[in-house]
């Protein structure tokens, strides 16, 4: 499934000490692996193999067990996400109102498919299942901003805004 080349691991010592604190917090908690993985993803943005190894060592379980859980849940990502995370809701309410056409427009605009990241690392695209804003269907999210009642025509302008903000920095 993972098509991307291996990304060089760039974790810092500070991130590692944060991770160790998370592991310590959940070490003796029954079923603590999930909260640790969630904490680790928050710290690193994704779960590279190096991080999974640290978790396995810290919780005293096998790497294969960590990998098994990390790959089971769609929330966990083994590859880095873009600077701007775009998700198009493909829940039923959005789908019957044309969310698939919105997703198509985003894919065309960025030249990537759902689940991928642009080469410059600026945008990653995912389709999600229902964020619960069905009153605004179809819905697209960029980072934490929600764009409701979307049409494919609006896609260009919205993404350009983020691309421009990136250029300005």
């Amino acid at each position: 499934m993972e098509k991307k080349s291996v990304h060089a691991f760039t974790g810092t010592a500070e991130q590692e000490s944060q991770l160790k604190a998370v592991i310590k917090e959940h070490h003796d908690q029954p079923g603590g692996l999930m909260p640790v993985l969630q904490g680790a993803q928050e710290i690193y943005g994704y779960l590279p193999i190096e991080v999974q190894q640290m978790i396995a060592d810290g919780l005293n379980i096998s790497l294969s067990e960590v990998y098994g859980v990390a790959t089971f849940y769609s929330q966990f990502s083994l590859t880095p996400k873009g600077k701007n995370r775009i998700s198009v809701c493909l829940g039923t309410a959005c789908y019957v109102k044309g969310a698939d056409k919105v997703l198509e427009a985003v894919e065309k605009k960025l030249g990537i498919k759902s689940g991928e990241c642009t080469e410059d690392g600026m945008f990653s695209l995912d389709s999600t299942r229902c964020i619960g804003a069905c009153g605004l269907a179809p819905v697209m999210m960029i980072n934490d901003e929600v764009y409701g009642k979307m049409t494919p025509e609006q896609v260009d302008g919205i993404i350009d805004k983020y691309a421009k903000a990136g250029d300005d920095q």
Binding site: P30, G31, P35, V69
Partner: protein, 631 residues
């Protein structure tokens, strides 16, 4: 530790403040005089309205109140969902009960100046249904959307501030727990719940009291109470709204369940995709602990109970009870065979009960008002109310709570306000990827657990998606199968391979390559998946296909025999053509075609090259002469 006297004291102190929002105008105005606030402004801070920008409205309002020196006279309350999400952000002003809809920060200054300061309601910003033709203003409960609703599970949503435990206490919060702990035995509680006729609101409809009785009967020093808040059905958001609008009602119900079966610990498993719900629930748990309503010796009794929140990580199968427990244990969320049932051997191998959020939201009311009150609502075998997330092709998209037995027609035509754009109602989909559809011919069916099963659908958790004539039933079945293919955990073969094969057959049909014998294959495969899959995900995955095949077989046949999609959705079966007699040769379509598929000379009829056409429909949108048709 809190005593019952202290609980009652908080209730008395805060009661009038909250009751202003529940009373009819005159009484509310009288009561408002005792609260210290001239007016109260309630703004929805649920996910729907927050997505429409309600947080910006609240900021602007607070700034404006300060500017006018009104911050001590006007109380701003951030509530949970009012229900009418399509009109968000929603703002209600009490004691008048004025319902302002689709608020933006630009509206605020005028409302503060004219209404909050000078007492003149800004009628043009009100939800127009609440403005009577003679200029008088209706209360919310008189509008078509709310009139037929009955709020039991949602009773506090949109009324209280969910981040203030005292507001929950003001509306009888934790009184049911106090009653149970001091005057009832565990068996009496279970008996009351059993007699109420409450059935699980998460989908299956298993009698809640019986579930509790099984867990009580199992001997064990440790037992668990779990709450399923992993609302994975796409298009359903009832549980999220309850957690966002009234989180304490879930905590109280879990403690009551814990007392009655003899459990000391509870887990809430909630979707990580619901950040607002998670945050409010955590605040609620922290406050309950601080007030001694969770923890050791609650109300000075021997009963101790605490709750931990666990986040899901985006796996639909974890809504299944055994998978959910496996996930809390920190493993891949795969289901396990039953028996043993969780009431005997559940979380960490101990007796466990699992109730859904909406089920929990009914518990305290049943204890306070009695089983007879609850069982007087609804139909013979389905008691109480049901919350539905009404979505899709319907005017009033939002959250509705209706007594069981309300007909689909009442929901669609009255509460839902009908289908937009003058389109025709085609079907309603319930139960999401595990459910089926109710066609227009059965629109007068009273909705309860058993009538939906009889129609080949199911109650599900409460997603109710309205489909109109532009929806292709084969395509929608394929949409659900795409979903189950993605979400099948892969543990058992009938589900892992069955969903994939079923999806391939549907893909074949939507691409115009289907044969009549594929329909038989679908039915055969579906039968095996239903009988041999390990959990409900695989057992119910064929339902959307079987149900549409039952009611809309002609549509399947049109795809197979005529190679046509009657609703004009399936791209591979669609053809855009230019009618030569209407085409003026203006070249607009050719210039806009992204695939360069249209050719022709100026002022002469153009032609679409079907091999190049990507069926995007841009030509049809741009044509000023209606010369392009879709077949």
């Amino acid at each position: 530790m809190m005593t019952i006297e202290q609980l009652n004291k908080i209730k008395e102190e805060k009661r009038e403040l909250v009751m202003v929002r529940k009373l009819i105008k005159e009484q509310g105005e009288e009561m408002a005089k005792h609260t210290g606030y001239k007016k109260q402004v309630l703004i929805c801070g649920g996910t729907g309205c927050t997505s429409s920008g309600s947080h910006k409205v609240i900021e602007t309002l607070e700034d404006s109140l300060k500017k006018h020196g009104l911050e001590k006279d006007i109380l701003v309350v951030r509530t949970g969902c009012f229900g009418l999400c399509a009109l968000g952000p929603i703002m209600i002003v009490y004691p008048e009960g004025c319902f302002y809809s689709q608020m933006t920060p630009d509206h605020i200054e005028r409302i503060v100046e004219e209404h909050l300061k000078n007492g003149n309601v800004v009628k043009e910003y009100l939800y127009q249904e609440t403005v009577h033709s003679d200029g008088s203003i209706l209360s919310l409960n008189e509008t078509a959307f709310y009139k037929k609703q009955m709020r039991v599970a949602l009773r506090n949503c949109g009324v209280i501030d969910p981040e203030q435990i005292e507001e929950y206490i003001a509306v009888d919060g934790y009184q049911a727990l106090a009653k149970v702990l001091t005057t009832m035995t565990g068996d009496e509680v279970i008996d009351e719940i059993t007699r109420s006729g409450l059935r699980g609101r998460g989908g299956g409809g298993f009698p809640t009291g019986r579930k509790w009785a099984f867990a009580k009967a199992t001997e064990s020093d440790i037992k668990y109470v779990c709450c399923n808040a992993d609302e994975g059905d796409p298009g359903a958001f009832m549980d999220r709204s309850i957690l966002e609008g009234d989180p304490h009602c879930v905590i109280e119900a879990m403690a009551i369940a814990g007392y009655s079966i003899g459990a000391q610990k509870g887990y809430v498993y909630v979707r990580a995709e619901y950040p607002i719900a998670v945050k409010r629930l955590q605040i609620a748990v922290d406050q309950a602990r601080e007030y001694g309503l969770l923890g050791e010796h609650i109300f000075g009794t021997d009963f101790s109970f605490d709750i931990e929140i666990r986040l899901g990580a985006g796996a639909f199968v974890c809504g299944e009870e055994t998978a959910l427990m496996t996930s809390i244990e920190g493993h891949r969320g795969e289901p396990r065979p039953r028996p043993p049932f969780p009431a005997v051997k559940g979380l960490f191998g101990k007796p466990t009960i699992l109730n859904n959020v909406e089920t929990n939201a009914n518990i305290a009311q049943i204890i306070l008002k009695g089983a007879d009150w609850f069982s007087s609502i609804g139909t013979e075998k389905s008691k109480g109310t049901k919350v539905f997330a009404l979505g899709g092709k319907i005017t009033n998209v939002g959250l509705v709570e209706i007594p069981m037995g309300t007909t689909l027609r009442e929901i669609v035509e009255e509460i839902g306000g009908g289908i937009p754009n003058g389109k025709k109602f085609k079907a309603a989909q319930t139960g999401g990827p595990s459910g089926g559809c109710i066609p227009a011919s059965h629109i007068d069916t009273p909705i309860d657990y058993d009538s939906l099963i009889a129609l080949g659908s199911m109650m599900g958790s409460g997603g109710l998606i309205i489909l109109d004539e532009d929806t292709c039933m084969v395509d929608i079945s394929k949409f659900y199968l795409d979903f189950t293919v993605d979400e099948s955990c892969g543990k058992c073969t009938p589900c892992r391979i069955g969903t994939k094969r079923l999806n391939q057959l549907l893909e074949k049909i939507t691409e115009g390559k289907g044969e009549m014998e594929d329909l038989e294959k679908i039915e055969e495969l579906a039968k095996h998946m239903k009988s041999s899959s390990l959990c409900a995900l695989g057992q119910s995955a064929p339902n959307p296909v079987l149900s549409t095949l039952n009611y809309f077989k002609d549509e399947y046949i049109a795809h197979i025999k005529d190679k046509k999609c009657p609703a004009g959705v399936c791209k591979k079966l669609m053809k855009y053509e230019i009618k030569p007699d209407l085409c003026k040769g203006c070249t607009l379509c050719a210039r806009n075609c992204p695939a360069n598929a249209i050719t022709g000379k100026v002022r002469e009829p153009h032609v679409i090259d079907q091999d190049k056409c990507i069926k995007c429909g841009v030509c049809m949108q741009n044509c000023k002469f209606n010369a392009i048709e879709k077949n």
